[in-house]
C-alpha cells in the first residue's frame, strides 16, 4: 500500500502529480519506527485519505482505541470520512487471527484499505518464526481476498505498523527481516535532532522496487499537529537512494 502513504506524505507538497491519484493499491507496506515516532498518526492519515476516495470502507485494526484523533493529518476530520473508518480492537493474537481467518464471512462492501497498528503487540505472544509468518501471510491473504471482492484494478491496500527497538538492540532484527519478506514496501520513521518546540522525524519510503526511495520530514507540534514536508535534499545528493544511510536500518 505504498501509494496511499505516498499520497499522504505528498499532501503538504504542491508538487502533486496526477499520476499518483491512481486507485492502484500497490504492494503491502510495513511502517517501521521507534516508540512515539508518529506511526499511528500516519496510519490514521492514510485511513482518512483512503476514506475520501469514494471506494469501500477502511478497516483499522489496533489493540486499543486511539487516545486522541491525530490532528493536521491533511484531510479535514470530515464526519463522512470518519464514518467510513471501522475500528476493531482484537485484544489478543488469538482474536486477531480469528478475525483475519473469518474476514470472508463479513457482509457488506469489502474494505479498500486494511490497516494494523502495533503489530509487535501481537507478535510477543508468539513462539516461533512460523507463527509470525502465518500472521503476516494471513494479513496479505485477507487483503488479497478483499481485493478479489472489490474487483480488478481496485485492490485493497495493506499497511502494517511495527514498533522497532532503539538502535543497538537488534533482538528483533530476525523478526523484521522475516516480516520484510511479506511486505516488499517499507517506510522507516527515524527521529531527528529536535527543533525547538517540535518533534521531527525523517520518513523514508522504499516502495518495493517500483521506484526510487523518497524522503519527507514529518514534524509534530506540541499540540499534536502533524506537518509533512519533502526532506530538503542537499546539493549534489539528489539521487539519495543509494548513498545516504538514511534507510534507518536497525
Amino acid at each position: 500500500m505504498a501509494e496511499t502513504l505516498r499520497r499522504v506524505l505528498n499532501l503538504g507538497t504542491s508538487a502533486r502529480s496526477g499520476e499518483e491519484d491512481t486507485a492502484e493499491a500497490g504492494p503491502p507496506l510495513l511502517l517501521l519506527g521507534g516508540p512515539g515516532s508518529g506511526k499511528t498518526a500516519l496510519l490514521f492519515a492514510a485511513a482518512l485519505e483512503a476514506a475520501g476516495e469514494g471506494r469501500g470502507p477502511v478497516l483499522f485494526l489496533t489493540r486499543r482505541p486511539l487516545q486522541s484523533l491525530p490532528r493536521g493529518t491533511g484531510a479535514a476530520l470530515d464526519p463522512l470520512r470518519l464514518q467510513k473508518i471501522r475500528f476493531q480492537y482484537p485484544p489478543s493474537t488469538h482474536e486477531l487471527l480469528q478475525l483475519l481467518c473469518s474476514a470472508h464471512e463479513a457482509r457488506g462492501p469489502a474494505p479498500s484499505l486494511l490497516l494494523l497498528d502495533g503489530l509487535e503487540e501481537y507478535l510477543v505472544e508468539d513462539q516461533g518464526p512460523q507463527d509470525a509468518a502465518y500472521l503476516a501471510a494471513l494479513l496479505l491473504d485477507t487483503a488479497a481476498h478483499f481485493s478479489h471482492q472489490t474487483g480488478p484494478g481496485q485492490g485493497c491496500g495493506l499497511v502494517v505498523a511495527l514498533q522497532t527497538q532503539e538502535e543497538g538492540v537488534s533482538g528483533d532484527a530476525l523478526q523484521v527481516s522475516l516480516l520484510r519478506r511479506y511486505f516488499p514496501a517499507q517506510c522507516w520513521l527515524q527521529a531527528e535532532t529536535p527543533a525547538p518546540g517540535q518533534h521531527r522525524l525523517r520518513a523514508c519510503l522504499d516502495p518495493g522496487g517500483l521506484g526510487p526511495r523518497a524522503e519527507w520530514c514529518v514534524a509534530f507540534r506540541p499540540n499534536g499537529e502533524m506537518t509533512i514536508t519533502p526532506w530538503p535534499t542537499q546539493a549534489g545528493n539528489l539521487s539519495l537512494d543509494k548513498g545516504s544511510s538514511s534507510g534507518g536500518q536497525p
Binding site: 488469538h94 474476514a103 496479505l140
Partner: protein, 145 residues
Amino acid sequence: MAAALAGLTLPAVVEELLSEMAAAVQENARIPDEHLSLLKFIFGPSAIQALDLVDRQSITLISSPSGRRVYQVLGSSGKTYTCLASCHYCSCPAFAFSVLRKSDSLLCKHLLAVYLSQVTGTCRQLKVSDKQLTDVLFAEKKQKA
C-alpha cells in the same frame, strides 16, 4: 538485504518457466522433458517430490462461496499441510526451517506442488461453507498451539 527482499517472491525465471509449462500443458497435455529438467535444476530433489505429490493428486483447492481459497496438501508422511493461495506460506516444518529461517530454499515441496498443480490443472476441488473455510484457516493455527 536483497536476498531477504526476494525471499518470498518467485524469481522471474521461475515465473516464466511456470507459464511456459502451462502453455505446453494446454497444447500437449503433458509437461515437456526440458521443462522437467529445468525444474530439477532449480529446485533439486524438491522438484521430484513435488511432481510426485501432483501425480498422486495430493493437492486440494478449498474454496467457499465468498471466493476465498486455500490449498491443502497431503504430505508423503500422511500429514496435511495448509498453503495460502495469495502468498508464500506453508505450514510444514521445511518451510519454517529452510525457507524462513535459513533462506536457503525458495519453496518447500508442497508450495511447489501447488504451483505445478495449477499448471497441470490437476488439483482436487472442494467447496465448503464460509464458516468451514474459517475453520480450515484457523485450525492451521490451533494445531501448532
